[in-house]
């Protein structure tokens, strides 16, 4: 989601700009009373700012949108983040739309501060001579002059772990990005390791400790690889039994579902939820789930599974000679 705090409507109050997995862009306007209820940002034609795929909340389904420049066909991308930026330094905010798949798009604003007129099509950006594509996906860009050269660069977290720096090698009115460089490399976390974020990373470059350089604040998940067990003969035999038992319980569940589960295809979300609650209360369903849970718990003692926990981490910038070893 990656909220951005900025005075978008030039009224002297900070607003919040963000996009969600709905695939659209929102603003919560700030005022002396506090935050306003979220509104969609719209383009010059009065349409929501979307990429080629979005979720239609009224019809409760994903839909395709034609937002490619004439004669072009942008990839089927789904917007999950948004950041306003005066791209061409003309005094109004343009907007960058980040795609879950890793690409980044630009909508120019031909209006003026307080009354935007965004383009109706998305311009796919490039970096290092190729389509802008964060390794591992999920562009949630943050704007910062990382290298202190007077031009704003981009820092993006990645869905598959890592944080990437896109150096602006263009000019003030015409940004251009170099190929990405990993500031934090993706890595695998072992059970004995220090926890660190290695998936779903959202980064905020910020001078956290006030020492004059930019640190990284990273939200995401620490996925810990399972510690494999070596089983003796007896344990192997028991595991085989448990695998068979899990399989038979799953088959029994399919029978229960086919007999008792309602057809939810024409139901609203609320009706579907109620139908599921009724199913969960049925004795055969409850007994099967309980038995399955016990078998699965014992199976996990032989076949440990990994864990995945959310968190927020601070990476303090330090001089290279005293640097800690980066995660693998």
């Amino acid at each position: 989601m990656c909220p951005q705090f900025v005075d978008f409507d030039a009224d002297g109050h900070t607003d919040i700009i963000t996009a969600t997995y709905e695939g659209t862009v929102f603003i919560s306007r700030g005022s002396h009373k506090g935050w306003g209820k979220p509104e969609h940002l719209i383009d010059a034609a009065g349409e929501y700012l979307v990429l080629s795929l979005y979720y239609d909340m009224e019809e409760d389904t994903y839909k395709n949108a034609k937002r490619s420049p004439e004669g072009q066909s942008n990839p089927k991308d789904h917007c999950v983040s948004a950041m306003v930026w005066d791209w061409d330094a003309d005094g109004d905010f343009d907007i960058l739309l980040g795609a879950k798949e890793g690409r980044l798009y630009l909508r120019m604003n031909h209006g003026k501060p307080g009354s935007p007129k965004f383009d109706t099509t998305n311009q796919l950006l490039r970096a290092g001579g190729e389509d802008f594509n964060v390794p591992g996906g999920l562009t949630a860009p943050r704007l910062v002059d990382w290298d202190a050269d007077g031009l704003k660069d981009l820092v993006c977290g990645s869905f598959k772990g890592g944080v990437y720096f896109y150096r602006n090698v263009g000019e003030k009115k015409a940004p251009k990005f170099a190929k990405p460089v990993a500031l934090i490399s993706p890595g695998v976390c072992q059970p004995s390791d220090l926890r660190f974020p290695n998936s779903g990373c959202y980064a905020d470059p910020v001078d956290y400790d006030g020492d004059g350089d930019l640190d990284l604040l990273v939200g995401g998940y620490c996925s810990v690889a399972p510690k494999k067990r070596i089983l003796d003969v007896k344990e192997k035999a028991r595991l085989k039994e448990l695998v068979a038992k899990t399989s038979s319980l799953s088959k029994e569940m399919n029978v229960i579902l086919s007999k008792h589960a309602a057809d939810t295809s024409d139901m609203s979300k609320e009706e579907g939820r109620k139908a599921f609650e009724i199913l969960r209360a049925l004795k055969p369903y409850r007994e099967n789930r309980e038995a399955w849970g016990k078998v699965w718990a014992e199976r996990r003692t032989f076949q440990p599974t990994g864990s995945r926990t959310a968190g927020v981490w601070l990476y303090r910038r330090i001089a290279k000679e005293t640097a800690a070893v980066q995660p693998r």
Binding site: M1, C2, P3, F5, I16, T18, T20, Y21, E22, T24, F26, S28, G34, W35, G36, K37, P38, M57, G128, G129, D149, F165, R167, V169, A178, K179, V181, L183, I184, L194, F196, P197, G200, Y202, D204, Y208, D209, D215, L216, L217, V218, G219, G220, Y221, T309, A310, G311, V312, W313, L314, Y315, R316, R317, I318, A319, K320, A323, A324, Q326, P327
Partner: protein, 112 residues
Amino acid sequence: MRVSTTLVLLFSLTASLSAQSAQGDATKQNDRALQGQSFAAPVELTAGGKAISNLMYPSPVLHDLDGDGKRELVLGEIFGTVRACTASADGLKWQKQVLLQAEGEKLKFNNW
């Protein structure tokens, strides 16, 4: 015919070398931008004495929400709510998460 072919080849070669040189410059600039930069081992932040493990896809940002000169730790999450934590003395342990409000209700950006 042979002269023009040679000229085209020479032009292509010059253009190619020039492009390679530009790419090399960009790489060098990139490398220079990162020289001397590294990070200490990550430190996991807490809020209200707990790890911030209750949010799906937390997206953090530091921002001074109330204009008191101190930045809050603001946390977005996949379901569209926004939370904020005020700082503690060491800057690593934040106060408990508080949901931002909009017009008397929880601030929530719609999600699918």
